[in-house]
């Protein structure tokens, strides 16, 4: 990964790493919780970007892959006590199978572009409504993981029980693994083929690319990464509700980071998550502060304000920097080596 970066870029990366690693030692537990969610969304953004940015496949149902994996891992943990370090395998497999099912239907019957996106929404909604009616995993009332008094202390990576710092560092490791993994994929034959299919499917096929197969690979990798994130989410949140896990808002939320940061770029989804999540959280904090200090009426309902501001940011980005902030920023700062080997 370092080979793409200039000296300045390497220095920037080191600085960011130093800040991230040292964060728990000098910030508050609130900041850590925001940073954990930010890293989690960076992973999901990376997963979503793999499909749209690399292979040109628009998913608006990514919450499905996250949620189905989260539910499976949470269920087997609460019923059988199976630790997530084991259940992550069937959970990710289930997410991948879901992805393959959607991919098969979409690609076999040549459902392209926005119609493919509709298919992903349809499946996510189908599962949300189904889970709503499945009593054994809590239905509408939700599924709760057993949490005991000592769970929020210590470090138990096998059962994913421990201090919030553990989750923070785990999210960081997963985010870096995802970034490195996506970079490896992008520079491989798969990456070349995905981009070719994204840019012109007919030309790609004429060059010997089995378009169906390579699109399937994109869905498999993407849903697999989302599945890993799902297991993390389940054990970090300790509670799962069909609406808050599978809802369309969750799927949309996943898309915003990459759109703001830069679809198709490697650092874009990460940057986007680090812009949007703190912005949204900061806004919520600001409103709470203003309410508590009596500057605005405490009874005033401002629930949708975060989404409104996000929508505004996305609109501005699409208008002025349609390729996202990262390509422009890395150009300005001279972080990335322009190709010329």
């Amino acid at each position: 990964m370092l080979a793409d970066l200039t000296i300045k870029g390497k220095a920037g990366l080191l600085l960011i790493l130093a800040i991230l690693i040292s964060l728990p030692f000098w910030s508050s537990s609130y900041i850590i919780s925001v940073a954990t969610i930010t890293l989690y969304l960076a992973i999901l953004g990376q997963s979503w970007n793999l499909m749209l940015g690399f292979a040109g496949l628009l998913s608006l149902g990514h919450a499905l892959f996250v949620g189905i994996s989260a539910y499976l891992a949470a269920y087997v943990f609460s019923v059988l006590g199976l630790p997530p370090v084991i259940s992550v395998f069937p959970a990710v497999l289930l997410a991948i199978l879901m992805g393959m099912l959607i991919g098969y239907l979409g690609f076999r019957f040549s459902i392209g572009g926005v119609y493919f996106a509709l298919l992903t929404i349809a499946f996510a909604e189908l599962v949300r409504i189904s889970v709503d009616h499945m009593g054994f995993i809590g239905g509408t009332e939700g599924l709760f993981l057993p949490v005991s008094e000592g769970d929020r202390k210590g470090v138990d990576l096998i059962n994913l029980r421990g201090h919030p710092f553990m989750f923070y560092y785990l999210a960081m490791v997963l985010a870096f693994l995802t970034l490195a993994g996506c970079r490896t994929l992008l520079k491989s034959k798969l990456g070349y083929y995905w981009q070719a299919i994204r840019d012109d499917q007919d030309a790609a096929q004429a060059l010997g690319i089995n378009v169906f197969r390579y699109k399937m690979y994109a869905v498999i990798y993407s849903s697999g990464i989302a599945g890993v994130a799902g297991v993390f989410y389940a054990f970090y949140q300790n509670s799962l509700f069909p609406e808050s896990v599978f809802g369309i808002e969750r799927s949309i939320e996943v898309t915003l980071g990459p759109i703001v940061g830069g679809v198709g770029s490697l650092f874009g989804p990460v940057l986007g998550a680090f812009i949007l999540t703190p912005l949204g959280e900061g806004l919520t904090e600001l409103i709470d502060f203003l309410k508590n200090s009596g500057i605005i009426d405490p009874k005033l309902k401002l629930n949708g304000l975060k989404l409104l501001i996000w929508g505004l940011v996305v609109s501005l980005i699409v208008l002025f920097k349609p390729r996202g902030i990262w390509p422009w920023l890395s150009d300005k700062l001279g972080f990335c080596r322009t190709e010329g080997d």
Binding site: K187, S188, K189, Y192, Y193, Q195, A196, R198, D199, D200, D202, A203, A204, Q205, A206, L207, G208, I209, N210, V211, G264, T338, E339, G340
Partner: protein, 242 residues
Amino acid sequence: MAAFLEIENVSKSFRGLKAVSNVSLNVEEGGMVALIGPNGAGKTTLFNLIAGVFPADEGRITLAGNDILGLRPDQICDAGISRTFQLVKPFPDMTVLENVTVGALHGAQNIQEARKAARNNVELLDLANKIHLPAHSLTLPDRKRLEVARALATRPKLLLLDEVMAGLRPTETDEMVAVFKSLNQETGITILLIEHVMRAVMSLSHHVAVLHHGKKISEGTPGHITQDPEVLDCYLGEEEDV
């Protein structure tokens, strides 16, 4: 001996309109055959039938004795046929080198090998100084060159060229003709080309077939074709007026 590419009585209609009607054509291994004819004569449709874009209504197409009709475009490429598109289809957000590398990955062991092969093809088609530019920034003649470089990178036995000289200046046309001639001599690649630029057709092809209204109306050496009254009447004659 059977020909390398054999097209036997192939027909294709679109909503009742016969785009290609009962066309037969043989291309010998190592041959360079030109397909000419007025616009709408069915030349590109015939190419698309060979390349597996859509199935034929009737007829047979074989490559080295193997039936290839009904295969998908990627399977056609696996069989050893590579094509360019008349309306060029570059991968716009990828660089010139990346575009050609996608082609070179067909059959290459790894990325390094593919990039090396791609670099050779880029140089062969005179795009070396644009190697790291995104394809969307190229001019049309350069995009045509990119089409050829990318198709060649798949290491085909048969190359289908659909009007790759259109828009090139006469000296550039001569350069590209020279590239195909030397490739043909060095690697024995078989070439079937659709071309309106008669300068290229005359100097490149061993054999010319003329399509008109979906039918093959004449066939023979370039010298023979230019004397054929029917061809002069429907195609070549017109060009002299222009």
